[in-house]
């Protein structure tokens, strides 16, 4: 598999399938792991970083799950390709800050990815479509066990898996769901919900993780605490709270429909109209409007649109994807024009 092959396929998490996929776009599990032999990446010398890379390479090649996987050295990628991988949620922004001795392994359907020498030696990620935490965890656990067989993890009986940042120690597990909560935003209940979840050991972030804004009413909800609870408890807790959030969003939707239907419909159809007609559009505006159309579909207000197409658009309209689809570099203005063109063409069908 080559990097450009990814452009032709829809990442598994974007397929819009799985339980509650109308509201929960994706479920993600991340495990932070380090190799006992070496200092953590920021403290390791070149030789040690190279050794981490070669130890990992030897290990993954023995694992069935990684047959046909794509293994990339970050330093070999150009700026556009790095951005492209970030947009597909396959690497973090942190991973391209300094690119020497860093790598990423991506499985053929983009479900599994492993960042090597990020903050920790290994960051294993499993990303699936829909509200699917249990399956995602099962798979993460299997991959982790496989790697564990061939690598020597930094682990202590008392503190569990040892990580570079003490906020990840123990299970090294971050479980998260990407969820769209437009009605809670419109009815201004979102702040209350977000405040409540922080009281329960969870946290909410924007579409692209730490420090990013919540464009298009997308929120990434994840556990904060990694020590003192088993993986199953952490996932169970997140799952239960997510169920409640889904219920709250549904209640807000019903109440909006019952009490403010014209206003609601107006917002959705205006979004639809703009997307269908705009000739210049920024990615933020597009994401927000697409999110409204998505809501319109879920409520049966808009009927003739394919959810898969909408999900794909959310990624394709991003800067690096647009440029790769066009096969050339584009200025900000050119991107806004090309983006509008792409969206119009999809909405015309």
């Amino acid at each position: 598999m080559k990097l450009d092959d990814l452009l032709k396929q829809t990442g598994e998490w974007l397929k819009g399938i799985g339980p509650n996929s109308e509201m929960v776009m994706s479920s993600r599990i991340r495990l932070a792991r380090n190799l006992a032999k070496y200092p953590f990446p920021h403290r390791a010398d070149k030789k040690q970083l190279e050794d981490v890379l070669s130890d990992f390479e030897k290990a993954y090649k023995r694992i069935e799950y990684f047959k046909g996987a794509l293994y990339l050295m970050i330093k070999d990628l150009n700026a556009l390709d790095k951005q492209f991988l970030i947009e597909r949620h396959l690497i973090s922004r942190e991973h391209i800050r300094h690119t020497e001795y860093k790598a990423v392994l991506i499985s053929d359907r983009e479900i599994i990815s492993v960042m090597v020498n990020e903050e920790d030696h290994l960051r294993i990620q499993i990303l699936q479509s829909g509200f699917n935490l249990q399956d995602t965890w099962q798979l993460a656990n299997k991959i982790d066990e496989e790697l564990d067989r061939y690598l020597d993890y930094a682990y202590s009986n008392e503190l569990g898996f040892l990580t570079c940042c003490p906020t990840n120690v123990g299970t090294g597990l971050r479980a998260s769901c990407m969820v769209q909560l437009p009605s809670l935003v419109i009815t201004k209940q979102i702040k209350k919900v977000l405040y409540a979840i922080t009281k329960l050991g969870l946290t909410a972030r924007g579409l692209y993780g730490e420090g990013t804004e919540a464009y298009g009413n997308f929120f990434q909800i994840s556990n904060q605490v990694t020590l003192g609870h088993s993986e199953e408890e952490i996932i169970d807790n997140l799952e239960r709270i997510m169920r409640q959030i889904i219920e709250q969003e549904n209640a807000a939707r019903s109440s909006l429909l019952a009490n403010q239907r014209p206003l609601f419909e107006d917002m959705i159809w205006r979004a639809y109209g703009t997307l269908k007609s705009a000739h210049i559009i920024t990615s933020n505006e597009a994401i927000n409007l697409l999110s409204h159309v998505r809501l319109g579909m879920d409520l049966g207000i808009i009927k003739d649109i394919d959810r898969n197409m909408l999900n794909e658009l959310l990624i394709q309209i991003q800067p690096a994807h647009l440029q790769k689809l066009q096969g050339k570099q584009l200025s900000t203005h050119e991107r806004d024009v090309t983006r509008a063109e792409l969206i119009r063409s999809k909405f015309m069908r």
Binding site: A36, H42, P166, G170, S230, I234
Partner: protein, 168 residues
Amino acid sequence: MLCEICGVNEATVEFTEIVDDEVTQLHLCESCAREKGVEMEKHFGIADLLAGLTDAGLEFESEEAEVKCSGCGMTYDDFRKIGRLGCGECYSTFKRNLLPLLKRIHGSTRHLGKSTVKLEKAAGVTKRSELQELRQKLQRAIEMEEFEEAAKLRDRIRELEKKAKEKE
């Protein structure tokens, strides 16, 4: 010159970054520079936050401040500045200072999750779940302040862990 991050826009901002005494200079466009700025603030945020936690209300074990980790040469002072540990060994080296910090972050200082494949194998599959169960019982006993019971559980856990280690 084009921006070194997006490679698209004209670079108009010179951005100097100092990480671990290493100075990097980047030529960026306005929007990437802005993003980078936000990212930097965020980066500082984590270390600051942790540094705040390490000091707040805790008696700082100063004799440990000078101790260098045998695994990576880091001191606790280094950790307080960057909020990152240097290697797995650091957790034992700075244990006395780290445990209260972990308690603040996680509300616990005891791992209750899965173990490594090798340890599990050594302890036998049944032992593993037994160990896990015992640890959970211990946690509950501590929460309920049943210290006698907790002490018994602790001894049993130590015994099992020792066996697991020996087999390894």
